[in-house]
Amino acid sequence: MLLLQEAAHGAAAALGEGNGFTPVLPWLIVGLPLLGFVLNGLLSVLAARRALPALPPVGDPYYDHAHDGHGHAAAAAPVRAPALAAVGAAGASEQEAHDHGTDAHPVDAAAARHDAHETAGHDAVHAQDAHDDHGHDAHAHAPAGPKPFTHTLPSLIAPGVLIASFVVAVRNFVAMSNAGEEARLAIAHGWSWIPVGNLQIEAALQLDPLSILMTLIVTGVGSLIHIFSIGYMKEDPGYPRYMAYLNLFVFFMLMLVLGSSYPVMFVGWEGVGLCSYLLIGFWFGEKANADAGKKAFIVNRIGDFGFLIAMMLLFWNVGALDFATVNERLLAGQAGLFGGALITAIALFFFLGAAGKSAQLPLYVWLPDAMAGPTPVSALIHAATMVTAGVYLVARSSVIYTLAPTASLVVALVGALTAIFAASIGLKQWDIKKVLAYSTVSQLGFMFAAVGMGAYVAGVFHLMTHAFFKACLFLGSGAVIHAMHAALHSTHNPADAQDMRNMGGLRKYLPITFVTMGISTLAIAGVPPFAGFFSKDEIIGAAWLGAEGHSHLSGAALFGVPGRVWMGVIGVILSVAAFMTAFYMGRMMIYTFFGQNRTGDEERGHLRETDWTLKLPLVVLGLLAVVGGLVNVEEHVPIVSAFDFGQDEALHRWLHPVLAGSDDVIAQNVGALPEPAHAAWPIILAVVIGVGGLATAWAMLSKRRLATADQQPAYESGIEKTLYNKYYVDEFYDRAVVKPVGGLSRLFARFDMGVLDWVVDLFGRLAQLFGVAFGRLQTGQVNTYAFVLIVGVLIVLGSFVAL
């Protein structure tokens, strides 16, 4: 590492002074969000403790009233218990009502306190909770009175640290841009983390074009989502806790993208999983939310298993785990490695990790459930950043994947299948967040198809534009849900605030949300010149080029079928998936923003956009969804090159140093690829697909009159029902994996205590026959034990002397 860095410095020196790159306070980028976590964490502890009732100390006889073990000192309990019960029940139920994500009006709380004096107090509180349960994503409204500092400070700290971190990242980006291309790599050394023998892992950050790009996305989009969160979450009793988790997430995400080695990346990798778990289950009072968090964590761990194995294979065969050394050694030994079983296994195990984190087949099942978390979390973690970590991992390991063409084809194929599979499910969902969740799975499939086909830049490009428009869509849906919730709440209407059948015509009430979401829909559908058009076109274009034999994978084979055939298939699959994307996004926009409003006559008046914090991020992200694609306009592609603003293929050039190793592998092992002749038809096809999908949706659905969710009949049969029920994959996993593992566990448990332990007891009983006074022992007399023990010890000691 040091050598490389010195080499980089040397190269910079050769290019002249001022061309070197010295990172500017790189640890501050990750340190600031961590600081935010610590501060907000302390605030959340303070806030939680202030909400608790006063109770007698632990060890007080009061707590013995239920204790049957020692049976003393229970006299005081009957006197104090009822009074305490009242206080406790009222205090805690208030707390719970908050943490349910439902609100406790002063009136409700008073009622709770009143009810708590009766034995059925608790149930009464629950009944009140129930009627206020509009949707999964409901949140509280302002209780009267000024907020305590524990609820005001996080609004400053949480976005503050993120924005500061973003500024530092930008400063580093500028410094890197000013450096020569060869010098755009720096390792910020930390400390020796795991030094054991030849395994030397350092805690260090790597700043290079890829990691700084990811850092900008994470801190930039992250800052906007933190700002949005203020407006969205500030009334929630768990607000400081929420902000603490969010800051912690960003810290781990930055470790993930900035880590200079696979193990350091793994720290972030598992850390973001933890935060995802905590945030999905943020409103833990409802079991479904906590279940969803658990599911995400466990499924992610299946992927992490693959990551671990890949690291072991890599270390014992390459002898290092930091990116620089790994790439250096792989390139040095590439002749013996190319296409071999070892490198293929490493690539596939890493891909297992990526598939878990990025929700690819067959491990995608946790992501739709993850929508149980607050919507800004869905935007940040489950759309823009964490779920793209798998794509980042593959791009970061481009040398490994280029050395393993078969594994690359697997990645591309899985990505393409995920893209079409999830898109088809998205066609029939009613929950606005579920549509976006399956859309995210599908778009991640596009990214994997790209990086699998060796189009790393296209994959990262789509990752970036997707972060813009999908974050915008999620935040927009959050604004919709926020408004819907407020409206439904005004009349205590129990309808679901996330069901599109209860919306309709919202463009009149939420104009900014409508416009920004509309732009993002055009972007994701692939309508030029919006961001998604360029990135998605580049991916599908890569498939067509590969099918024509212009890819290094064209000559590779998977299951005996040559790569060019596979890439043709992938091109077709992705085109169909792109059409579906345009269709379901059009459907979502139509049902949400067009047609007649179905929220209810009285409720309608309460539909409005409120806080600036909810609007500003939408506008910024909407702008980015418009212009984001222009950073990588392809030079030689017909029509596309018309959008040239002098920025042609900027991303290609920016990422070139990172991908030089991969290019070298292709040059050494595949040889020069024929220069592609860019045709116009793929572009025309892409535009037709994007516009056509939206138009089809408009033609089919805009005239359709929907009934509200409670009146709409369920899908009765056929493909609609199958799609609505997500191909029954969850049910299948439940029967094929969850239940058998649970059954086996119970069987083992019975075996353990029923058979193994029984055998042991049998020996014990045999010992009885040999005169061990078992009956005596059970008299409970300490003296007896002591006597037996001392005799035993004496026998043992005596046996020594006798020997």
């Binding site: 502890v45 403790r49 608790l52 109770l55 007698p56 100390p57 632990v58 060890g59 707590y63 013995d64 239920a66 049957d68 073990g69 020692h70 206080v87 406790g88 205090g91 805690a92 707390q95 719970e96 943490d99 349910h100 608790h122 400390w191 983390w193 795991i194 054991v196 023998g197 395994l199 805690a203 193990p263 850390g271 289950g281 833990f284 009072g285 409802e286 079991k287 279940d291 658990k294 964590f297 761990r301 992490d304 298993f305 671990l308 194995i309 072991m312 294979l313 649970g742 086996l744 083992f748 448990a749 332990d757 042991v760 007891d761 409970g780 300490v782 034990y785 023990l789 010890v793 020594f800």
Partner: protein, 538 residues
């Protein structure tokens, strides 16, 4: 500082708690816990400078061969039988001793209000137990080791049998019989070694250093190894000898569970590293060609992996929280077995670090469950739920302890299990592959209990009326949290200190010291390195 270079520090750490036990007993019911706390704090503070005075790899003058120890002493005890008061400290025992002394004051604090009856007996037992445990980790005379090993059982037996739950007597007797049966076989093996040595040299000795220089035939090594291994396997415990552990944990009071999981189980794995491997390296490496399988390495790896997967699954369906955590101990120690029998530096250091990390995270879980028990008098998982709303600080701590147990990066659990898997993978990739699924199973057993206790709806009225952690309880948990994070983020000071000792253990197990397979040697003595030749024997 002379104190810390000599054996007196070790002698102090063994005998001071014994004196303290007497003092606590005499102090009476009211003052026992205060005295015990004072003794515990002093014991810990006195032991703490060892961390800095310990010089990795430095060898004392007393023992010139074998693994490098410091703070050594070798004095006659029962001269006639060659029994010596022989102590020494190396990078392995250093951390086991520090872990023991750290947990002592924490256990006293954890029992502060938990133990209401016969306090003086309880604290006397606890302190006496500590003395025995420290002795086990530093004794280098096999007889002395055995005495500590057995002596320590008695106070533990009392702690479970007197201050335990409803079925405390059953659990205590089971614990005692189980461990005694295993120990007796080890005692026979030790005596055999003693006779063998005495017959060969004419000088009676129980010295560890004498025994590890004694050549033995492959057959002798094999059976002696099994005798030692049984004692240690029961203590660890290794599947299928683990069924005493859930009973003992469920019935034991908090401090009993803590000391059991924190240090007592480690005596088993410590025994493997220090004695079973070093004394019988040829057998341990598993090449008794003429004895045919089961090869010991294979058996150990298989049992280790079964421990990781099987007990994790059993843990996942337990309804009693303490029982669940007890089973997870078996799973964690499966990693230790795996790491030890990888016979490389990563595996060995990983195993040692798992021993430390598990000695922090599992006691933390038991402390937390004990705190919950004091409030609700239940260990049944279904009695809880939604505690995040009523006792948020406790809940945060439980989530942290759960994540530490699962081995999330930034905790010591990750670093240690990563090292074990790394080490195992080099030697036995398939075993490592299976063992690595342990990361999934760890989430499979730990997340449901966390969810059922601290998340979900707060339904039961009893769970609303409990106070959050107080200062005393935080004083127990915060040091554990700090240590778990420190060793997860910067384990180097620990790894560097234990590296020479781990290397010594590997060197010891790499030796053959094989005697010819002919009739028992009439005159043995100096090693006969030519033993390889008999590989082709019957």
């Amino acid at each position: 500082m002379q104190f810390y270079q000599s054996h007196w520090i070790l002698t102090f750490l063994i005998f001071f708690p014994l004196v303290g036990a007497l003092a606590a007993y005499l102090a009476g019911e009211g003052n026992a816990r205060g005295v015990a706390l004072g003794v515990g704090v002093i014991e810990f503070l006195v032991s703490l400078p060892l961390f800095w005075t310990f010089q990795p790899g430095v060898r004392c003058d007393v023992f010139r061969t074998g693994p490098a120890f410091q703070n050594c002493v070798s004095a006659d005890w029962i001269g006639e039988w060659g029994i010596r008061y022989q102590l020494g400290l190396d990078g392995i025992s250093l951390f086991m001793v520090l872990l023991t002394t750290l947990l002592l004051p924490l256990m006293v604090l954890g029992s502060w209000t938990y133990i209401r009856d016969r306090r003086r007996g309880f604290y006397a037992s606890l302190l006496a137990l500590t003395a025995g445990v420290v002795g086990v980790f530093v004794a280098l005379d096999m007889f002395l080791f055995y005495v500590f090993w057995e002596v320590m059982l008695i106070p533990m037996y009392f702690m479970i049998g007197i201050w335990g739950g409803k079925e405390r007597v059953y659990a205590a007797v089971k614990f005692f019989l189980f461990t005694t049966v295993g120990s007796l076989l080890m005692l026979v093996a030790i005596l055999w070694l003693f006779w063998h040595w005495t017959a060969a040299t004419g000088h009676p000795s129980f010295s560890y250093f004498d025994f590890i220089s004694m050549p033995l035939t492959a057959r002798q090594q094999y059976f002696l190894f099994l005798a030692f291994a049984l004692a240690f396997a029961i203590k660890v415990p290794v599947f299928p000898f683990h069924t005493w552990l859930p009973h003992a944990h469920v019935q034991a009071p908090t401090a009993g569970s803590v000391v059991l999981a924190g240090v007592l189980l480690k005596m088993g794995t410590y025994g493997f590293i220090r004695f079973a491997l070093a004394l019988f390296p040829y057998a341990a490496r598993g090449f008794p060609h003429h004895l045919h399988p089961p090869r010991i390495v294979t058996a150990a790896l298989v049992l280790g992996v079964i421990g990781i997967i099987y007990t994790a699954m059993v843990a996942a369906v337990q309804s009693n929280a303490k029982k669940l955590v007890a089973y997870t101990s078996v799973a964690h120690l499966g990693f230790v077995i795996l790491g030890i029998f990888a016979f490389n530096l990563q595996g060995m250091q990983g195993a040692l670090l798992v021993m430390i990390g598990h000695g922090l995270s599992t006691p933390m879980l038991f402390f937390l469950l004990g705190m919950l028990y004091e409030r609700r008098h239940s260990y049944e998982i279904d009695d809880f739920g939604g505690l995040s709303a009523s006792i948020p600080v406790f809940s945060a701590m439980l989530v942290f302890a759960g994540m530490a147990s699962v081995g999330l990066p930034t905790t010591v659990g990750f670093v240690s299990e990563f090292l074990v898997l790394m080490g195992t993978f080099q030697q036995h990739p398939w075993f490592a592959l299976i063992a690595a699924t342990g990361v999934i199973f760890a989430a499979y057993y730990m997340l449901p209990i966390v969810q059922k206790v601290v998340f979900n709806a707060l339904k039961r009225t009893e769970n609303r009326m409990i106070p959050d952690l107080n200062g005393r309880e935080l004083a127990i948990l915060v040091p554990l949290v700090a240590l778990i994070l420190w060793m997860g983020l910067y384990p180097r000071p620990v790894l560097d200190r234990m590296a020479p000792a781990a290397q010594d253990a590997l060197t010891a197990v790499a030796a053959d010291r094989l005697a010819p397979d002919a009739p028992a040697p009439t005159r043995g003595g100096a090693g006969q390195p030519g033993g390889v030749a008999l590989g082709g024997g019957r």
